[in-house]
Symmetry: C2
Subunit: 281 residues, 2 copies
């Protein structure tokens, strides 16, 4: 396995691979890798000749009061895991290289970036779309893999790729969960023991909603009210939002008649967790 | 010469060319081709195996009161000229294909897009950057050619390409002029006889500024004042702006001590003309 830190070297590596007729699968990450990332890397390895994993904690997708500085970084551990599951190249540029002084260009997907998490993290998805565009151009993969856990991100990247005619296929893989249902996330490492137990309520609320819909519930506001009640029983939990939306355009759905995306963000202590499921009535 | 209207077909044509090891030169245009475009196409033909010229009047770079609808369109004439000077493919998608309903993604280069023409055409350069990003992704050329006549556009495209790690070389070719110095522009066709004569003053003002600087003039405001006086002698002329800026970051220069870009926009009757020169003291 190769570790590449320079954008130039990464680009020329990919070019050479393409010239040789090899396909390149790409898994963008911020490191602190977990089973969710592993599932993406394994899928990429199964479908491509070469697998590139980027590890880059992207500063421009963090707000001023967010966890950019304390976000977990451990390249040695990440590299061990990557190698074990079929990675050929880790691409880990530094922030200075990705955003040199005088950096000015941003990619924004309107509407999709302003709702759900975007409402509480202004500029976040512009930062994501910009970094992913850069990584796509540097690596020029055939297929790029994203997790369904970040459903809004996946929608935005799909839309951006289509809108900008980027010749890359986007695949979104299912959320990987702990035994109690908690979605795998690098930020779970922030939770203390009690918070970790409370955190299971996030997925439980989604399952509650799913059951209500399967039993014929069509009224989003009633379902959301019951989810709120369940979550609020946990001392460490504070709901940021719960939304039931159209999975394509992320617009709120009042009466559930087709597939919906149920998405929420909950503070567990000082840790912000997100999760979602897609439910068909 | 091939005429391609579909983005898919264009993309697969380029892919095949690259697989065969051929280089692709790209000249983006809005049609209504003139000697300025011809110089770009000839340069592309001299430096690449295959030359693609796009002809696309990009709706999102026009303001609501601008000339999108009346912008000259004549594919037959343009195609004749293209073929004569070494074009292999004309790519001419329609607006519906480039911006389908529900289009949402925009590329913006901050600062550089907000000064000079950008101040008077809000959203213009975002529209340009977005369309060029799309065309770059569809055509994936090795080299793309732009005219120095649109100096701000050239700066923005260069910066965008660098910032987003787009693996394409940008070349900016000198402005081609009529005998009396008027910069070639598709919009010159809007001018009546008298206006056409008056229009020469735009370049004359640039030459005046150049001479003043060559004679030791360092004070931008004094030079701009003299340019204004010269232009205002013409009945049909109304100055929109005259600026002396740093050629790289487009920021105003008060005291001229190194290379400067002198740029201006002048209404001649109902036609807005722009021009510029780079001067070294």
């Amino acid at each position: 396995m190769k570790i590449i830190r320079s954008t130039k070297e990464m680009n020329s590596f990919s070019r050479k691979a393409h010239v040789k007729g090899k396909t390149v699968g790409f898994v963008p990450t911020m490191g602190a890798l977990h089973e969710g990332h592993v599932s993406l890397i394994r899928q990429a390895a199964a479908e491509n000749d070469i697998v590139v994993v980027s590890i880059f904690v992207n500063p421009i997708q963090f707000g001023p009061n967010e966890d950019y500085k304390r976000y977990p970084r451990n390249l040695r551990l990440d590299a061990q895991l990557c190698e074990k599951v079929g990675t050929d190249v880790i691409f880990c540029p530094n922030a200075q290289q990705m955003y040199p002084a005088n950096y000015k260009t941003y990619v924004n997907v309107s509407d999709l970036s302003d709702c759900l998490c975007g409402k509480f993290r202004p500029g976040h998805f512009k930062g994501v779309a910009t970094a992913v565009t850069k990584l796509f151009n540097i690596i020029s993969p055939d297929i790029a893999y994203f997790g369904q856990k970040d459903a809004q991100q996946a929608s935005i990247i799909k839309k951006m790729t289509e809108d900008l005619n980027i010749p890359i296929k986007i695949k979104v893989m299912p959320t990987v969960r702990e035994k109690d249902g908690l979605a795998m996330s690098s930020r779970n490492a922030y939770l203390n023991k009690e918070e970790r137990q409370d955190a299971a309520v996030v997925y439980q609320a989604l399952i509650l909603a799913k059951n209500l819909i399967k039993q014929g519930g069509v009224d989003s506001s009633g379902i959301i009210r019951k989810m709120r009640q369940l979550i609020n029983r946990k001392k460490s939990a504070r709901i940021q939002y719960i939304s039931i939306v159209d999975p394509k355009d992320l617009k709120p759905i009042d009466k559930i008649r087709g597939k919906v995306l149920i998405a929420l963000s909950v503070w567990i202590g000082k840790t912000r967790l997100i999760d979602n499921i897609v439910v068909k009535p």
